[in-house]
C-alpha cells in the first residue's frame, strides 16, 4: 500500500492547510503524513504532494480545532507549531485525528497516553517555557531616539507570544523586539497596536547608539545585581540551573556593554 506525504510550508497557515488537504484525500489516516519544508530523504513507494498554503482552508481548520477541542488544545497546537522540530506537523495532524475519536473532545490535551498528543504537549511546553524565559530575561536598551530595543535569539518562534505582554505593560513606550535568528521584528509604537515585520534577506538594522541614560542605568543595575547576592550562599550551579547560559548573551548584567554594535 502506498504512503502519502503532504509537504507543507513551515507556518501555521501551511500546516493547517496540510491538515485540511489530508482530510480531503479521504484515505486512512495512518497512510497520510505531513512533513514540513522540503523532504531530503525521499522514500520508495511513497507519493509526495506539495501543498500550497491557503488562507481559507487554514482558517477553517483553526476554527474547527478551537470549536471541537477548546481553547487549551488550540493554544497548545499554536505553540507546538512555533517549534523548529520537523515532526511538529505530523504530531498536530495525528493529535487532531485522535481528538475526533475521543468521547470528550475537550479533554484532548489530557490524553497524554496517546503518543501524538504527548508530542504536541511536549512541543507546546517547550515553547511556553521558552516564551516565559524571554518574558523574564529579555532586556531592553534605550537608544538615543528614546526607542527601547531588545534583541532575542529563541529556539522556538515565540515573538508573537511575548509581545502582547510587553504591549500591555508599556503602552506608552516605543519599543522593538528583534528575533535575531529569524530576523523578525515586533514593533510597538507608543499608544498604538503592535505589529510584526521582517528584515529583508541579508538586511540589517540601521546603526544605533545607546542613550546617555542607558549607560547610567545599566551600570546601576549591574551594581545592584552584584550587591544583592549573599556571598555566604554563593552557588554557581544553582544560578546556572535557574538561568541557562544561552540566555545570558543578551542580558545586560552578564554583558555589561549591553550589545556589541
Amino acid at each position: 500500500m502506498e504512503e502519502y506525504y503532504l509537504i507543507c510550508e513551515d507556518s501555521l497557515e501551511g500546516i493547517f492547510t496540510g491538515i485540511y488537504n489530508a482530510y480531503l484525500m479521504k484515505k486512512p489516516h495512518d497512510r497520510l503524513h505531513i512533513c514540513v519544508g522540503a523532504e531530503d530523504n525521499y522514500r520508495l513507494f511513497a507519493v509526495y504532494q506539495e501543498c500550497a498554503p491557503d488562507e481559507k482552508k487554514a482558517a477553517s481548520v483553526a476554527r474547527t480545532v478551537l470549536r471541537e477541542f477548546g481553547e487549551e488544545a488550540y493554544l497548545s497546537v499554536c505553540r507546538a507549531l512555533a517549534s523548529p522540530e520537523a515532526d511538529k506537523g505530523e504530531a498536530v495532524y495525528k493529535a487532531v485525528v485522535t481528538g475526533f475519536s475521543m468521547r470528550r473532545r475537550r479533554e484532548l490535551m489530557g490524553n497524554l497516553a496517546d503518543p501524538y498528543v504527548r508530542r504536541v504537549f511536549e512541543l507546546a511546553r517547550f515553547t511556553a517555557n521558552e516564551a516565559h524565559f524571554h518574558v523574564e530575561f529579555l532586556r531592553f536598551r534605550e537608544l538615543q531616539s528614546g526607542i527601547l530595543y531588545a534583541p532575542i535569539g529563541p529556539k522556538n518562534n515565540i515573538i508573537t507570544f511575548i509581545t502582547p505582554h510587553f504591549a500591555d505593560r508599556m503602552p506608552l513606550e516605543n519599543f522593538v523586539i528583534h528575533d535575531d535568528t529569524r530576523n523578525i521584528l515586533a514593533v510597538h509604537p507608543k499608544g498604538r497596536d503592535w505589529f510584526l515585520t521582517s528584515l529583508q534577506e541579508g538586511g540589517e538594522l540601521p546603526e544605533y547608539r545607546l542613550s546617555q541614560g542607558e549607560e547610567e542605568y545599566s551600570e546601576l543595575f549591574c551594581h545592584f545585581f552584584h550587591t544583592i547576592a549573599i556571598k555566604e550562599r554563593n552557588s554557581y550551579v544553582r544560578q546556572r540551573g535557574m538561568l541557562p547560559l544561552r540566555y545570558r548573551k543578551y542580558m545586560t548584567e552578564f554583558n555589561k556593554q549591553g550589545l556589541e554594535t
Binding site: 475521543m102 470528550r104 479533554e107 489530557g110 490524553n111 497524554l112 497516553a113 496517546d114 504527548r118 518574558v135 523574564e136 530575561f137 529579555l138 532586556r139 531592553f140 536598551r141 534605550e142 527601547l148 531588545a150 505582554h165 510587553f166 500591555d168 505593560r169 508599556m170 503602552p171 506608552l172 513606550e173 541614560g213 542605568y217 545599566s218 551600570e219 546601576l220 543595575f221 551594581h223 545592584f224 545585581f225 552584584h226 550587591t227 544583592i228 547576592a229 549573599i230 556571598k231 555566604e232 550562599r233 554563593n234 552557588s235 554557581y236 550551579v237 544553582r238 544560578q239 540551573g241 535557574m242 538561568l243 542580558m251 545586560t252 548584567e253
Partner: protein
C-alpha cells in the same frame, strides 16, 4: 468608608504626610553623617541593596492585573523572576531599604545601631526614578521597599508611604509593590499603605517570643503580630467590599508574607513548622519564608557557624512548607515531640512515606488524587496529569515516565494495573537504602556547600568566629 476613595486619600495625605515632613527638615541626618556632601546614587544603591539582601521574599506573585493604558506596568499572577544572582536566588524586585539607619540594635542584623557600617538614605524621587527606569528595561518586576527604623516607626512608615504614593500616582506605576509594615507604626498608616501595595509583610524574625527577646531586645512579639492581624482583617474586609462594589480599590491583593531566621536560636524544626502552620491557618499568610542564619555580626548571643549558613536545614523546611501548602500534609504528620527534626538524608515526604508503608503501594489508575500526591517522586503537576490522563484508559509505567513522574523514587510506592514496576520488597530498610543510594538533587552544592565534617584544622574558618564561640 474612610479609606480608598480619592477624596479620603487626599485628605489623609494632607493630614499625615505633610505634617511630619514639615516638622523635620528634609533628611537632616544625611548632612550629619556625610558632611562632605551627598552620596552618589550608585553608592546609595550599593549600600541600601546590600543592606536589604537578607530579606528573603522576592516573589512578585499573587495578583494578576492588566495595565490600564495610562501609565506603565501590569502584574502576572504567577510572578516573574528577572534574573538570578551569584547565590542562585531569584531577582524579581528592586529590593532596597529606604534607609539603613536604625534605632534598634538587633543582634543578628547588619544594620544594627551599634555596627559601624556606611549609612545612606534614598529620597522618594530617587526610588521612583530607579524603579521606573529599571522596570522599562525589564530588569525588575517591581519594588520591594523595606527600611531601618529612622527616628521612630511612624516616621519611617511615612517615608515609605511617600515614596510608594508618588510611584503610584505621579509616575502611574502599576507594577508590583511589596512593602514592609513597620511594627509599632500607627495602624492608620498600615491601612493606607495597604491600599497602594500589592503585598505587605511583617517579619516574625525568630520563631519564638523567647528567641526574639534575646536577640532583638527592642522588638516585641505583640508588636509584630498586631499589624499582621490588622492586615489579615483588612484583606478579609476588602474582599467583602469588592464583592459588593466591583471597583472598590483593593487592599494588599497579593496577600501578606513573613520570614523567620533559622539557626540563630535553638528551636527545633518541629517548633518552626508548628509556628508556620499556625501562621497559615490563623493569619492566612500567603507565604512563610525561612532564612538560614548568616553570621554577619560577632556576638556572644549568636551561634558560630563554621560550616556556613544551615542551608540544608532551610531546604528541608521549605520542602515541608510545600507539603503543608500544596500536598495536604499537616505539621503533626511530618514531625513530633519525639522526632523534632527533619532527616538529613531524606526529604520530608519520603521520610513520611517510609514511616507509613502500610498505606502503600498505591494503585495509580484508581487511587484518590490526594493519595497520589503523597507518593514520593510525584509532584502536583504529575498528579494532576495522572488523574486527567487515566480517564482515557489505564496508564502504564512508561506513560508515567513521560508524564513527569520520577520513577526511581516512586517505584517502591506504586502499582500500575496491579503490578509493581520491578519485584521489590516493601520494607523500610530496603527502600531507605535504595532511596538514599540514588542521590538527592540539592539546589546548592557542587561549589562549596556540602555536609562537610568539622575538623580542628579547618583553616577557612575566619578567626573571629572561633573566638566568638556561640551557645549552640
Amino acid at each position: 468608608m474612610p479609606f480608598g476613595t480619592e477624596a479620603a486619600m487626599e485628605r489623609d495625605k494632607n493630614q499625615l504626610i505633610s505634617v511630619p515632613v514639615k516638622e523635620q527638615p528634609q533628611l537632616p541626618y544625611l548632612a550629619a553623617i556625610n558632611p562632605t556632601g551627598q552620596k552618589t546614587l550608585m553608592e546609595k544603591l550599593g549600600i541600601l541593596s546590600d543592606a536589604a539582601k537578607y530579606d528573603v521574599s522576592c516573589s512578585s506573585s499573587g495578583v494578576g492585573r492588566k495595565g490600564d493604558g495610562t501609565g506603565i506596568g501590569n502584574t502576572v499572577a504567577g510572578g516573574i523572576c528577572h534574573s538570578f544572582g551569584a547565590d542562585g536566588r531569584c531577582i524579581s524586585l528592586l529590593k532596597i531599604l529606604f534607609t539603613n539607619e536604625c534605632i534598634y540594635d538587633c543582634k543578628y542584623c547588619i544594620n544594627r545601631r551599634s555596627n559601624d557600617v556606611p549609612r545612606a538614605s534614598f529620597t522618594p524621587d530617587e526610588i521612583c526614578e530607579l524603579t521606573i527606569q529599571f522596570y522599562r528595561r525589564n530588569y525588575i518586576e517591581g519594588l520591594f521597599l523595606s527600611s531601618g527604623i529612622l527616628h521612630n516607626p511612624d516616621y519611617t512608615m511615612e517615608l515609605i508611604y511617600e515614596a510608594v504614593y508618588k510611584l503610584r500616582t505621579l509616575y502611574r506605576f502599576q507594577g508590583y509593590i511589596h512593602v514592609k509594615a513597620i511594627p509599632g507604626a500607627n495602624p492608620l498608616l498600615v491601612q493606607r499603605l495597604g491600599m497602594l501595595a500589592d503585598r505587605m509583610s511583617v517579619n516574625l524574625e525568630l520563631p519564638t517570643a523567647e528567641g526574639l527577646s534575646r536577640l532583638a531586645p527592642n522588638k516585641h512579639r505583640k508588636n509584630i503580630l498586631t499589624p499582621m492581624r490588622q492586615i489579615q482583617r483588612g484583606i478579609t474586609q476588602n474582599k467583602e467590599e469588592i464583592a459588593v462594589y466591583r471597583h472598590a480599590s483593593s487592599f494588599v491583593p497579593a496577600g501578606q508574607s513573613t520570614q523567620m531566621i533559622v539557626g540563630a536560636t535553638p528551636e527545633s524544626d518541629y517548633q518552626i513548622m508548628m509556628v508556620a502552620e499556625n501562621l497559615y491557618r490563623k493569619f492566612e499568610l500567603k507565604r512563610v519564608y525561612y532564612s538560614a542564619f548568616v553570621s554577619v555580626n560577632a556576638d556572644k548571643e549568636l551561634p558560630a557557624l563554621p560550616g556556613g549558613p544551615p542551608l540544608l536545614r532551610e531546604h528541608r523546611l521549605y520542602q515541608a512548607d510545600w507539603l503543608l501548602r500544596f500536598y495536604g500534609f499537616e505539621a503533626d504528620e511530618l514531625l513530633s515531640e519525639q522526632k523534632p527534626n527533619f532527616n538529613v538524608l531524606l526529604d520530608p515526604k519520603a521520610d513520611w512515606a517510609l514511616r507509613h508503608l502500610e498505606l502503600f503501594p498505591v494503585e495509580i489508575n484508581r487511587a484518590d488524587y490526594r493519595m497520589i500526591l503523597r507518593v514520593p517522586g510525584i509532584g502536583v503537576k504529575s498528579a494532576q496529569r495522572i488523574v486527567r490522563a487515566r480517564k482515557n484508559g489505564a496508564l502504564a509505567f512508561e506513560d508515567l515516565k513521560k508524564i513527569g513522574v520520577t520513577l526511581k523514587r516512586a517505584l517502591y510506592f506504586i502499582t500500575c494495573s496491579g503490578k509493581m514496576m520491578y519485584p521489590t520488597k516493601i520494607e523500610e530498610d530496603y527502600i531507605t537504602r535504595n532511596l538514599i543510594s540514588n542521590k538527592e538533587k540539592l539546589p546548592f552544592g557542587a561549589d562549596g556547600m556540602t555536609y562537610k565534617q568539622l575538623s580542628l584544622f579547618d583553616d577557612d574558618m575566619p578567626g573571629w568566629q572561633k573566638i566568638a564561640g556561640g551557645t549552640l
